[in-house]
Symmetry: C2
Subunit: 158 residues, 2 copies
Amino acid sequence: MLAIRPARPEDCGLLLAFVRELAEYEKAADEVTATEADFRRDGFGPRPRFEAAIAEWDGRPCGFVLWFYNYSTWAGRHGLYLEDLFVRPEYRGRGIGKALLVHLARLAAEQRCGRYQWQVLDWNTPSIRFYEALGARRLPEWITMRVEGPALTALAGR
Amino acid sequence: MLAIRPARPEDCGLLLAFVRELAEYEKAADEVTATEADFRRDGFGPRPRFEAAIAEWDGRPCGFVLWFYNYSTWAGRHGLYLEDLFVRPEYRGRGIGKALLVHLARLAAEQRCGRYQWQVLDWNTPSIRFYEALGARRLPEWITMRVEGPALTALAGR
């Protein structure tokens, strides 16, 4: 049986394990430098930077979802941004990913968020199909631009 | 002479004017439903959802930038997300857009944000070239998915 519950400070080790497992799936395991202490500070400190929920199957952690809030200056309202969604491979095919997406859709609707969004890698066709079947649409005209690392230091120094 | 200062609650009417002018440029003026009261609540209330800065040229408002914070579970750190950047047409060509981008890069660097990012419409080639010249790179492999309106209500009701 599936249960979804809010993440607690003592889940930070579990969250980090999930983040690493998800990064492996995305072929980027080397890029995870986060620590449990980071998640404790940023998820459960005086200024929370994210929220998270844990999915449990018969009491065993099987997946998670992590989100924060963005802002639409057109709608004049905050929106919900899903950063990470992950279900452990051995628990797939039971509707857990869908239940996590619906869980966040309810939270977004309760808060009257106009938008609920996330990003997906363009090669991840199974996920894109799954999201579209649930009512999501692609916004392929929006390109993400990023400054990081030495480029950020250089830009800040101009 | 250019000055960049934090937005104040009394700037909400100006922010809304800028947001509408930017939406016109993006061919989406009809989609702005935000009000001054929304911006006052969400920018200057007990739970700020965004931050903003106003650019002034010889004391006259000529542009703005508006941002919020996202979160990288790989970096274990919040990042800066630039939602809106706008310079009034009659003030373009004076380096104001660049100064606003650098202003936020400094803020991101001060806060040790690993990433500073935004989105741009794929047909907006002049802006893409401008951003790339400042050190930003495109992440074309990330596709944005969005659920909104009736689709959000339907998903929340599943």
